[in-house]
Symmetry: C2
Subunit: 366 residues, 2 copies
């Protein structure tokens, strides 16, 4: 069994320690520099077609007591990561927070602190959390379609799983680590991937056999998709060269889901090229669909309106499609849900709505 080579990761972690050590040797105040992680500091990377951090940087240094504690925590965390790599374990972010109980003065005071430090370490080293053997609580996103995945299991066996024939109706559960050392995509016989926001709609498409009738791989993204889900979609799109279509509710929060899949999220812009799928397209539900299909709606709340206006100034929503749709939605004052298509019966989404939308996008079945 080929195992992942972590020597590069260890090397990069060691460099952080060297930097602090050298600062002490040179009688300088120990410090680490890293990009500022805000909406104002994300720039479109033309080569990668994703949003990345710009040139603004922040410094973590030991000039204050809080800053010194932060650097001490960084050293402890680096040490913990090296130990996990060594004993072939991984840990949830929550577990790491509790592990710090044994770090004396470096103990975290909230999980927010430990999560932020994990992100800092990613930004500084250019590695991913998965390289550090850190993972979030599970998320349970699921896949159904004519796709064979090979997963290296915890017993170090390679297991081939066909996402229709070898799984129950709930589909294949995406594990928290979807890097190449863990899963590889084998055969796929499908024309595109549909990422679906709600479990109800995923199950509807599955029950109606849309994965077979339309040659689609269905991925349930479970609301705002976890990193592993975004990475899974990214790898599937890139390695198997399949279009990715995003099918969500019609509200500003769902557009953010699309943006995080297509362009990357602000929090994780340092790894956008690993997580984002620039080739993905928004399938619906659009504000135009509300009109064209006369869908049941709810009124926009104050928060919805604020979020839509904020999207008008978000660099990820600057093309004419999004500007038009967002302005239309503000004019309508309405939002809708993907399951609202059930107004016309349980088969309407697979018999009428999706075929019409796919035809519009030039993806109709031949």
């Amino acid at each position: 069994m080929v195992e992942k080579d972590y020597s590069e990761v260890i090397n990069k972690i060691d460099k952080i320690a060297s930097k602090i050590y050298d600062d002490f040797q040179n009688t300088e105040i120990p410090a680490l520099g890293l990009p500022t992680r805000t909406k104002a500091n994300i720039k479109f990377d033309d080569n990668l077609s994703v949003w990345k951090y710009g040139k603004n940087t922040t410094e973590r240094n030991a000039k204050s007591l809080d800053g010194a504690y932060m650097l001490l925590r960084t050293m402890y965390m680096a040490d913990f990561i090296k130990e996990m790599i060594n004993v072939k374990k991984s840990s949830t972010l929550r577990e790491m927070y509790y592990i710090s109980e044994g770090w004396d003065m470096a103990k975290f005071h909230s999980q927010n602190e430990s999560n932020l430090l994990a992100e800092d370490l990613e930004v500084i080293t250019g590695c991913m959390r998965e390289d550090f053997k850190l993972r979030p609580e599970e998320d349970g996103a699921r896949v159904i379609g004519n796709l064979t995945i090979e997963e290296v299991t915890r017993k170090n066996d390679k297991k081939k799983i066909h996402c229709q024939d070898d799984v129950g109706d709930a589909g294949y559960s995406i594990p928290y680590n979807v890097e190449p050392e863990k899963i590889t995509f084998k055969d796929i016989d499908a024309d595109f991937v549909i990422a679906i926001e709600t479990g109800g709609m995923f199950d509807r498409l599955a029950e109606n056999g849309f994965d077979t009738s339309s040659r689609a791989v269905l991925v349930h993204i479970k609301g705002q998709p976890a990193r592993s889900t975004r990475r899974f979609i990214k790898r599937l799109c890139t390695e198997k060269n399949k279009p990715v279509l995003v099918f969500t509710d019609c509200d500003p929060w769902s557009y953010r889901i699309f943006a995080s899949i297509a362009y990357g999220a602000i929090k994780t812009a340092h790894i956008s090229e690993y997580l984002a799928t620039p080739a993905s397209q928004y399938l619906g539900v659009t504000p135009s669909d509300i009109q064209n299909y006369d869908l049941p709606t709810d009124a926009l709340t104050k928060e919805d309106i604020h979020a839509l206006k904020s999207e008008l100034s978000d660099p990820r929503f600057q093309d004419s499609f999004w500007k038009q749709e967002i302005k239309l939605q503000l004019k309508l004052g309405k939002k809708s849900e993907q399951q609202a298509l059930a107004k016309y019966g349980l088969d309407y989404v697979t018999d009428t709505y999706l075929p019409e939308k796919l035809a519009e996008m030039g993806l109709a079945k031949k």
Copy 2:
């Protein structure tokens, strides 16, 4: 392929329509009676060892316009359920809410209304929502262990799935329908079932191989468990005669999770005998564990204290174990999480805590 016989369900639904029809024939105001669904109206059923509704009843009648609409909706819903049975489809509760757009004056005004009516229909007919082909949004609970499940898939094939050898590391996803026509339990070679609250802890036990080393079937219940998860555990316990141990955080909300698994929930007391597993035992984390294992804690909030006090008067928490533990927790003023055991390292829970707790319960490995 043997298919479920729905004639009994249809028969019971038809009886509701007959009752209303007869009321009209007899020039009486149409009405349906059903038990009151409140904490004050649940009683312990000694035969079944679960909590069921008592004798208080409520009447839905057409004396008011709202009541008349409610009966009209009941007729439309009964009709929709019969149609789904007929065309072999199922629908989410959310879809049914939108389906009602076509019911003219009987249209639901909120999903709460449609959910409540689905529960009313269960109470009136003695059937389960699953019999009506209604289901919630998916929940994604997962199973890992030495257990073989046979699932009848959407293509009507029987598929055998071993919950270690035939699944990825994320385990087997429990489908929304776990009735005998959908899944059956084949071979099991394990000593007990552990129902685990958090995904992080489920993944910890899986990574540490606790399912193999301790001969346990691990079920991730995902916080407050969905009906399908509770029904799955109930069937596994009863049909395979295995003890069920519930492993949660140490706070009043987690005790409610235990209570819903062991004794039934107030909202679903009409089907407690299908959902509750009276033989299940609370494994931890207990307030005593906070002291015995010196666990990291957070202070109880005002809401926590209120919930604990309310549990002291809840008929489901009247035995000496719960009274002692809840009183101890109120005295300590602290709560803790199952992942707090990571204070002593990632293996402590499987090497020390669980073996000690299992030994206390007389379930230690021989």
